[in-house]
């Protein structure tokens, strides 16, 4: 965590977001598309938590807390809200895929789409 380009959590964020965007653009299977969106969400959540880190910091809890600088608590609250929203969105998308499978018998996005033009 010296602030150079080898800051591992930020590299992990870049890798996750890059892989997720590639999956969303190129995959035709609808379940894999939802997986890509989940990976994108994990990447953005990791970014939010990592930007709050302070060097040699402890968890921001006052109950029986040891001495030391605390990491920022506000991004942790933002991340928690984002995780809850992600659960709701994933549940909605998976329900729609299950109903589409019941109608068309296929979860390939090229074969199960009906509206063009």
């Amino acid at each position: 965590m010296t602030g150079t380009i080898f800051n591992i959590p930020f590299l992990a964020v870049a890798a996750l977001v890059g892989i997720a965007l590639y999956i969303i653009i190129s995959q035709r299977n609808l379940i894999k598309l939802v997986m890509g969106i989940t990976i994108l969400e994990s990447g953005v959540n990791l970014f939010l938590i990592t930007l709050g880190y302070r060097a040699a910091g402890i968890a921001p809890i006052y109950t029986n807390a040891p001495e030391g600088v605390m990491v920022l608590p506000v991004p942790q609250a933002l991340t928690l809200t984002s995780i809850v929203i992600g659960v709701a969105t994933t549940a909605l998308m998976l329900s729609m895929i299950m109903l589409t499978y019941r109608h068309t018998g296929d979860i390939d996005s090229e074969k199960s789409r009906r509206m063009k033009g």
């Binding site: 953005v44 930007l51 033009g117």
Partner: protein, 521 residues
């Protein structure tokens, strides 16, 4: 009454939220009580929006701090930055709030007769009220992360409503496309909020605007925010989800999902004008907004001409009309740093664009409701199969004629007034853009002539011999929008001076917005 006005900003958001979760409990008692609860909630919200609007035009920006010891205590003592969630309602926010509340009321009255025939009605009304909460929350908030949360509430409710009729496979496809685009767009906005927090430790829009230094990371955040908001408001080239989603949404929810994407248009303007403001290189950003607007106008209307599905045709026209608003406000943004150009034509271009938002919401909402009325009675959306409906559905055809004339910019309707303001001021900026706008208006008229002739005129078809007029609640819903359109057409000067010009000034004056929260710090 004074305390009602003081608390009205949060009551407008909290009362539909309470009613949304009271609906499943009340619908076990009786279905009529549930309908009355929903309509009464939206009427009360409309009343609160009107009294808040009157107070804002008299007394300036309205601040509400959640959880403090008084509503306007944004910065407690010994603090240097605002804490807690702050709702900040200025003239532009209440303008969008008036649009959202009115169209939602008309669309919900319209939906009552639809929902008598469908099952799962209480879930429909819960989702509808949550969509209203999401729209009004997005328009009233003064905090970036709160904007993200309300944007997600709006997207999830809108997608679930679009896919409501699960017995049709294309409804599920439209809803799925909407939720995928919304999820990716909202995550990009969250990334940009993370970039802001890491640099400035602030989430409040006014505090960020004061501390903004326009570093390289801020430029990346502006690009991400502009891209995400363009995805959500169906601007070309990210408009592919809009025709599918608008054509399959049931009952009166299509105007509401459309107004939700106009709320994202408000989010884009709030970011460009208030969050960045004078630190931007406004000529570049303004030209990008103008180019997105011109592409939307042109692509929307040329794709609309050969459609055979009536709601898909109207969805493409919705994309095209959003282009007019982006063009008008984009011209204002491009000359924001140039005081004499701003005073001579920039302000009028922005007023034209903003006036077009409310006109478009009214007549596009009316046209979507008439198309859904055709689907309700005939069971099809295909124009090739319809014909001769003006004998059976007299009121619906009158509403369709009024909507079609208004959208094509025929005088004396309100579409003509706002388009004339845009043509005149954009001509002084760059003549070619104005000529393209007029050409698009002519093609719009041609497309609606085709739609009217196919659906309403022509010989009476034998299979539609005993189709009656639509039920009374649907006529009342369409009638409310028509009366407001006629009122705007007769008194355009009154509307521009009292509602539109304060909104334009609120967008241009960034300093007033910042001082209301920071209080001179």
């Amino acid at each position: 009454m004074h305390t009602l006005v003081a608390h009205s900003a949060i009551l407008i958001i909290a009362i539909p939220l309470l009613a949304a979760f009271l609906t499943p409990l009340i619908s076990r008692v009786s279905k009529k009580a549930r309908d009355i609860l929903v309509i009464a909630t939206l009427v009360f919200v409309e009343f609160l929006v009107i009294i808040l609007a009157k107070d804002i035009y008299l007394n300036g920006i309205h601040i509400y701090t959640l959880g403090a010891s008084s509503p306007s205590l944004t910065i407690p003592e010994h603090y240097m930055v605002p804490v807690r969630i702050i709702l900040e309602v200025d003239a532009m926010s209440i303008f969008m709030g008036i649009i959202s509340a009115t169209v939602s009321l008309a669309a919900t009255i319209y939906s009552i007769s639809f929902m008598k025939e469908e099952t799962g009605g209480d879930r429909f009304y819960t989702l509808l009220l949550l969509l209203v909460v999401g729209m009004l929350g997005l328009e009233f908030t003064g905090d970036m992360f709160n904007m993200f949360v309300f944007l997600e509430i709006l997207s999830i409710s809108g997608a679930a409503l679009a896919a409501f009729r699960t017995r049709f496979a294309d409804a599920l496809e439209g809803g799925f496309k909407y939720i995928v685009i919304s999820a990716v767009g909202a995550l990009v906005i969250l990334f940009a909020i993370g970039i802001f927090y890491s640099q400035y430790n602030l989430l409040n829009i006014a505090a960020l605007a004061q501390a903004m230094q326009y570093t390289m990371l801020d430029k990346i955040a502006l690009a991400l925010l502009a891209m995400a908001f363009t995805m959500k408001l169906a601007g070309v080239p990210m408009h592919m989800w809009a025709p599918d989603t608008y054509s399959v949404a049931p009952a009166g929810t299509t105007p509401m999902i459309y107004i939700a994407s106009q709320a994202c248009l408000y989010g884009l303007f709030r970011t460009c004008f208030t969050l960045y403001g004078v630190t931007l290189n406004t000529a570049t950003i303004g030209w990008i907004v103008i180019i997105i607007g011109v592409l939307s106008m042109f692509v929307g209307v040329t794709m609309a001409v050969h459609q055979s599905d009536v709601k898909r045709l109207m969805a493409y026209h919705a994309i095209s009309q959003s282009g007019y608003m982006l063009l008008g406000v984009g011209v204002g943004l491009a000359v924001l740093g140039n005081p004499e150009a701003l005073a001579s034509y920039g302000r009028e271009a922005m007023s034209g664009g903003i006036f077009h938002i409310i006109n478009n919401a009214l007549y596009k909402g009316l046209l979507f409701l008439t198309a859904e009325a055709l689907f309700f009675r005939l069971g099809t959306r295909d124009l090739n199969k319809m014909g001769g409906m003006c004998r059976n559905m007299k009121y619906t055809s009158i509403f369709f004629i009024i909507g079609a004339l208004a959208i094509s910019g025929i005088p004396p309707f309100n579409g003509f007034t706002s388009k004339l303001m845009i043509y005149e001021s954009v001509y002084r900026f760059n003549p070619i853009l104005s000529v393209i706008a007029m050409l698009v208006s002519i093609i719009t008229l041609a497309s609606f002539t085709k739609a009217f002739q196919a659906a309403f005129t022509g010989p009476a078809l034998p299979q539609y011999k005993d189709v009656k007029e639509v039920p009374k609640p649907m006529l009342i819903g369409m009638g409310i929008l028509t009366i407001i359109i006629i009122f705007f057409s007769l008194f355009p000067g009154l509307i521009v001076n009292s509602i539109v010009n304060p909104a334009t000034d609120a967008l241009i004056n960034q300093a007033t917005y910042i001082n209301a929260v920071m209080g001179g710090l």
